[in-house]
């Protein structure tokens, strides 16, 4: 990954500040969602051009739908490739999920059936995507709120996906914590079950905890919890120091506040004061 340590999920709420304000030393790179910027002109295009000239960027898309049972959407992939090329982005990721059926797209990341046939299909698709984009693909473990019986364990499914396809894992620490709590498994054992060299970068985010009788929700609407920070530190010990992105999609605070949290998260995970850059 040709970026440094501390990344922030790019939001429109503070995009102009990043584009036109002083260049910040407390954030090393930005994670941009291509689906929210591709094909847009006007102020959006101008702001993104300015940001790209000032900060390294990685791309994290929402609509690859790599786990669905449809042929790959080459039109969408073509648009993604053009976007990556235009902004010189080498690191590209999406989710281990599906968001499409034979009728069309849904506006959500739906968990993939975890079985042998689904795994084989995903492996084929990942290889095709990597060939087409001429870049490695990283896939994120998603939070899921339904667990069907008779499925492969998530750690086994992800491990085999990584090993068989050659993709990397974008490890979302908060999703591990949320899934462990909702489905009653051990988050530390989950980390131990993943290949040591699988992770290319980390996501950190907040969740909504409505108490022991309700499902924990991956909302990206609060600060990162202490439990997730601890799990993040464990992940760094197992998978090494990789770039970390702080995501915040709801109740978005000021850019200054987010950068303070990003650096606190980074310190908690690595014990380091920040980027060497």
């Amino acid at each position: 990954m040709n970026v440094h340590d501390r990344g922030l999920g790019l939001r429109r709420e503070f995009a102009s500040a990043l584009a036109w304000g002083p260049t910040r030393s407390d954030v090393d790179f930005l994670e941009v969602v291509p689906d929210n910027w591709m094909g847009l002109g006007g102020e959006s295009a101008q702001v993104l051009e300015a940001i790209a000239a000032r900060y390294p960027m990685v791309a994290h898309s929402l609509s690859l739908s790599i786990g669905d049972a449809q042929p790959l959407d080459w039109s969408y992939l073509g648009a993604v490739r053009s976007f990556l090329d235009r902004y010189g982005i080498e690191t590209y990721s999406d989710h281990v999920s599906m968001s499409r059926d034979s009728r069309g797209y849904l506006y959500e990341l739906i968990p993939v059936p975890r079985n042998e046939a689904s795994l084989r299909l995903m492996v084929e698709k990942v290889k095709a995507v990597q060939d087409f984009l001429a870049r490695p693909l990283a896939l994120e473990n998603v939070s899921y709120y339904v667990e069907e019986t008779g499925q492969m364990g998530e750690a086994e499914f992800l491990s085999r996906l990584v090993e068989d396809s050659g993709c990397a894992l974008l490890l979302d620490i908060n999703n591990v914590h949320v899934n462990a709590r909702n489905h009653g498994w051990n988050a530390r054992e989950f980390l131990q079950a993943l290949p040591e060299d699988a992770v290319s970068y980390y996501h950190m985010a907040g969740h909504l905890d409505l108490g022991p009788d309700a499902q924990m929700l991956d909302t990206h609407g609060t600060e990162v919890s202490a439990a997730v920070l601890q799990l993040g530190a464990l992940a760094v010990r197992r998978f090494g120091r990789q770039p970390v992105v702080l995501e915040r999609d709801n109740f978005v605070p000021s850019l200054d506040e987010l950068c303070v949290e990003l650096n606190a998260v980074h310190r908690a995970m690595t014990g380091s004061a920040g980027s060497p850059a």
């Binding site: 002109g41 959006s44 739908s65 849904l106 506006y107 739906i110 084929e124 095709a128």
Partner: protein, 215 residues
């Protein structure tokens, strides 16, 4: 590339997504609808305000039950919602409001670059053309203001407007009178070269970015 889409994989994935479309599969049916309702409220606030939250919930539900969006990104999702609602609303005030807000959004994100022309107004033989984001609409005047929308007010006869984005990214809805329409007509078919001193209308149209300079 040939990908083996086995019946089992297809059936399992289709079953999950169908359950979501029908409002189920744990919380996912609700999550999909909540995310879409939030998106449409952000993109089309006056439509949602006019339509009412209860009706919007029914609209979003019908959208996922009956429509398959060809893209997942928010722009396409919003655009396909408008197309879906055009059928659902028929000829109505709600439809007029929705189409107007979609036009504002479409102009805002139009990929064309709008060049500021006022710095070259004094030059001769300029190639002038319509602002590439310009859209013509005919709607009642009450629709383009900030006043609450009423059925009675929207029954007024329509006026002609030009909706376009300026070089500094402001989206304007400009009333077009007979002189504006006459002034724009020479550029309908494409950019045209203008010789000699520019008349007052052309200067104002260039200063306001209604027209722009092509090279």
């Amino acid at each position: 590339m040939s990908i083996d889409l086995t019946d089992d994989v297809v059936l399992r994935a289709e079953r999950r997504c169908l359950a979501v479309r029908c409002g189920g599969y744990g919380p996912y049916g609700g999550l999909v609808r909540a995310a879409a309702a939030e998106l449409f409220t952000t993109m089309f606030p006056r439509f949602v305000n006019h339509r009412g939250s209860g009706a919007l919930i029914e609209d979003v539900d019908a959208f996922f039950l009956l429509h398959g969006a060809s893209r997942g990104a928010f722009v396409q999702m919003g655009t396909e919602f408008v197309a879906f609602m055009q059928q659902r609303l028929g000829s109505s005030v709600s439809r007029m409001v929705l189409e107007y807000e979609w036009t504002l959004f479409d102009v805002e994100v139009h990929p064309a670059v709008v060049r500021r022309a006022h710095e070259v107004v004094g030059k001769d033989g300029l190639m002038l053309g319509l602002n590439p984001t310009l859209r013509f609409i005919a709607v009642p005047s009450t629709l383009v203001g900030d006043d609450p929308i009423s059925v009675e007010a929207l029954a007024l006869p329509p006026s002609t407007y030009g909706v376009y984005r300026t070089a500094d990214h402001q989206v304007l809805t400009k009333p077009l009178g007979p002189s504006d329409i006459a002034g724009l007509r020479p550029f309908e078919a494409g950019p045209a070269r203008v010789y000699g001193p520019l008349d007052t209308w052309l200067v104002e149209a260039l200063n306001g970015d209604l027209l722009t300079v092509f090279t």
